[in-house]
């Protein structure tokens, strides 16, 4: 055991002390934050306010529409914040500004000449667009929105909803229903999602849950690609120089292999921890900027599951990479065999959608037991809905067993592969090596 510990320490220190580790660890979160927030900021900053003209036959209608538009744009922001755990119920709508400033003018000159003039204004960028809301247009149901670019989908929906609201009220008013009665009639029914978790109710929107799964998948992917390959390279280097022989004269190949995997794993763990701490430090201002992040409600159970499946998933894929390094002789060959690791990972991601939608289906249950998919699929199931404990336990046991099994095989191949230089073994030979009880 002491030997294994020495190897773990060596592998860990060798990687952690490099400049690239420091750069990656400290810089990456910075880069990622910038990448995620900057585009949004850029989109809103520097944009002058959108200048819109609403053309109606009567000024009152125009004013109503204008008010309604502004209200609709602000409310849309509020809807996103609904699930914030500490959302202040008394948040003043005025405190929340719409993402983009809108200046809305009312024009009651609904003539063709005016339409042509407005068109010119749009073209000359004096205004950004106008809404043709004359009574004729309303009556014939053909209201047009003219602008230089196709309005963003969300924007158009909002506008159309707001508009419809106003028109409905107008029509009702014309038929004798006043605004108060119309309010009663038209109050929408909102459906609130409450999840039953072990008899306790918890609220949470689907968006936040998906984010938790996505973060896990992204992190796992990155960790595996960065460090898994590093394990493969390290195995190849040791084989191709004689360092492995020297080590084998002191330690067993199992100690060497496991030590290396755990050492590299510790590096990944360190990096993740640093990032989590950094994220925690920067999260609060970040959440203020991007409201959707505050949707994350992370229960401790999910956190534990995340840690467990992340580590095990990382170990599994890295061990497979090590096995590839043990079989091949050059890095090129190793890269050709990479698909063995990448395909299960990619398949897991593909299967995420069905699993998340029907986590209880028998097919999904068994899929999440398969050790190559478990890290992502079982975790996804835990996030979305808590599977029975025996299922989680079973998948963990199978996963750990598989990892151990591959490690043992790997150690054997590693050791024997070393001693036969140059020749790349074919499959029957590899099987024979594995059968050698002890080298």
């Amino acid at each position: 055991m002491r030997n294994m510990w020495l190897i773990i320490r060596r592998e860990y220190l060798e990687r952690v002390r490099t400049r690239s580790f420091l750069i990656l660890t400290l810089l990456l979160p910075g880069i990622m934050t910038v990448v995620m927030i900057l585009p949004a900021k850029l989109a809103t900053m520097g944009d002058k306010a959108q200048h819109i003209v609403v053309v109606t036959s009567s000024p009152q209608l125009g004013e109503t529409v204008r008010q309604r538009f502004l209200a609709a744009l602000t409310t849309a922001e509020e809807d996103d914040d609904e699930d914030k755990p500490d959302a202040n119920a008394n948040t003043d709508a005025a405190k929340k500004k719409p993402e983009q400033d809108y200046v809305i003018d009312v024009d009651s000159n609904a003539t063709e000449a005016e339409r042509a003039a407005l068109r010119d204004k749009v073209t000359s960028q004096a205004i950004d667009g106008f809404l043709w809301l004359s009574d004729d247009a309303i009556a014939s149901g053909k209201v047009t929105w003219t602008s230089r670019s196709m309005a963003g989908f969300g924007q158009r929906t909002l506008l159309s909803q707001a508009l419809n609201h106003v028109i409905e009220y107008e029509r009702l008013a014309k038929n004798g229903v006043n605004a108060t009665e119309a309010d009663l009639v038209l109050t929408p029914v909102k459906v609130e999602a409450v999840r039953l978790e072990r008899g306790r109710e918890s609220k949470g929107s689907g968006g936040g849950k998906l984010l938790e799964v996505v973060i896990m998948v992204m992190l796992l992917y990155m960790a595996v690609l960065l460090y898994g390959i590093s394990v493969m390279r390290s195995v190849l280097e040791e084989k191709n120089s004689r360092i492995l022989e020297v080590l084998l004269s002191s330690a067993s190949s199992t100690e060497l292999m496991v030590g290396k995997l755990l050492g590299v794993g510790a590096v990944g763990l360190t990096q993740i921890l640093v990032w989590v701490v950094m994220a925690g430090a920067f999260a609060l201002p970040a959440m203020a900027m991007q409201p959707s992040f505050s949707e994350l409600q992370i229960s401790p159970g999910v956190l534990v599951a995340f840690a467990a499946f992340f580590l095990l998933g990382y170990l599994l894929y890295s061990t497979m990479y090590a096995a590839i390094g043990a079989i091949t002789t050059t890095e090129q060959e190793g890269q050709q065999l990479q698909f063995i690791v990448v395909i299960p990972l990619v398949l897991s991601v593909f299967m995420l959608n069905p699993v998340v939608r029907t986590p209880d289906a028998p097919a999904m249950v068994w899929l999440s037991m398969v050790p190559f998919f478990a890290p992502i699929l079982m975790y996804a199931r835990i996030v979305v809905q808590t599977p029975p404990v025996w299922q989680i336990a079973l998948s963990l046991v199978v996963l750990i067993g598989t990892i151990a099994g591959i490690m043992v095989l790997c150690a054997r191949i590693y050791r024997i592969g070393v001693l036969i230089y140059g020749k790349r073994p074919n499959l029957p030979e590899i099987l024979k090596w594995i059968k050698y009880a002890k080298a």
């Binding site: 060596r10 120089s241 004689r242 022989e245 020297v246 080590l247 002191s250 050791r415 080298a439």
Partner: protein
């Protein structure tokens, strides 16, 4: 190819010296890689405190044999005995191993690397540091202890490798082709180090195909070809068994005595001197009289056969 006067008298596979506590004893060891037989029914015995040479052409099975002694690979059949016991994991701490090419982590710092190697052999960190420093001083590497291995020249790396193999004070030091690639000065240093180790009671086992080195250093040898032991045992005894067949002659003048096939079977002219192989049954004194009759003889030396000749003769014999 000239044959030596006395045929090889000893058997190819002497019984291992199981009476004395030989440091290393191989008994009928066999190792195959698939269909290829690397080591075939090999037996040898290495006494403690000696330098033992494992000789043979490339591909003879030397490296496989060494690895089996170290315990990196296990024989398919036969027995490896070290320090009187069958080879066990724990014995590894008593071994020092110097592989044929350098086996060092390129990116590791020299001192750290040495300490790691020593710790893997069971030394404490403090002790390992102390010893590593003093060895580095001795080999004039003190200025380099903090540098990465890849920053050192090849010769310095070889020194580091050597230090790494003896740092933990092993009883048995095994070296695979240690002289290959060494310049003469380094070769001498290594030779001195090996002699010193042997004198202090350690056992040194090395493989080589440089017969001249083996001749100077080894007290016992094993000559391997095609995985089998062709010769094994005490070097001087082996040479004695081959008899004195060669004469080194330095002369000026009439060289006709060399053509006397009754006395001289063949000869090699090395420019400065001639090495003559005696014909079977020839008398050295008669050759001397003949030579001095027609030329001025400045040197006439009856030589024991060189290991190189023995090697070539033994290797070319039909198996």
């Amino acid at each position: 190819m000239a044959t030596l006067q006395t045929p090889i008298a000893r058997s190819s596979n002497p019984a291992p010296n199981s009476g004395a506590a030989g440091t290393v004893v191989l008994s009928n060891v066999r190792k195959c890689y698939g269909d290829f037989v690397a080591v075939d029914n090999l037996s040898l015995s290495i006494q403690p405190g000696s330098i033992y040479g494992l000789l043979g052409p490339n591909g003879a099975g030397k490296t496989s044999t060494l690895r089996m002694i170290i315990g990196i690979i296990l024989p398919d059949s036969g027995q490896v005995t070290v320090f009187g016991e069958p080879l066990r994991r724990e014995h590894k701490e008593q071994f020092g191993y110097l592989p044929e090419e350098r086996g060092l982590y390129k990116k590791m710092k020299v001192l750290e690397h040495l300490v790691l190697l020593a710790q893997l052999k069971g030394l404490s960190s403090a002790e390992a540091h102390k010893r590593a420093q003093s060895w580095c001083e001795r080999f004039e590497l003190s200025a380099w202890t903090g540098k990465k291995v890849e920053e050192l020249s090849k010769g310095m790396q070889q020194k580091v490798q050597f230090i790494g193999s003896i740092l933990h004070d092993p009883k048995l030091i095994i070296m695979d082709e240690p002289f290959s690639g060494l310049d003469p000065a380094s070769a001498v240093s290594l030779k001195d180090a090996m002699l010193e180790l042997a004198k202090s009671g350690k056992t040194v086992l090395f493989s080589t195909h440089r017969m001249d080195q083996a001749e100077k250093l080894c007290s016992s040898i094993c000559l391997i070809n095609h995985g089998r032991a062709v010769l094994e045992g005490d070097l001087s005894q082996i040479k004695a068994g081959y008899g004195y067949n060669n004469v080194q002659i330095k002369y000026e003048g009439d060289a006709s005595f060399l053509k006397e096939t009754r006395l001289v079977q063949s000869f090699n002219d090395y420019g400065n001197y001639v090495e003559a192989r005696l014909a079977p049954g020839a008398d050295t004194q008669e050759l001397l009289r003949l030579a001095s009759a027609g030329a001025r003889v400045s040197k006439f030396e009856v030589m024991e056969p060189s290991l190189e000749e023995i090697f070539i003769a033994a290797v070319s014999k039909p198996a």
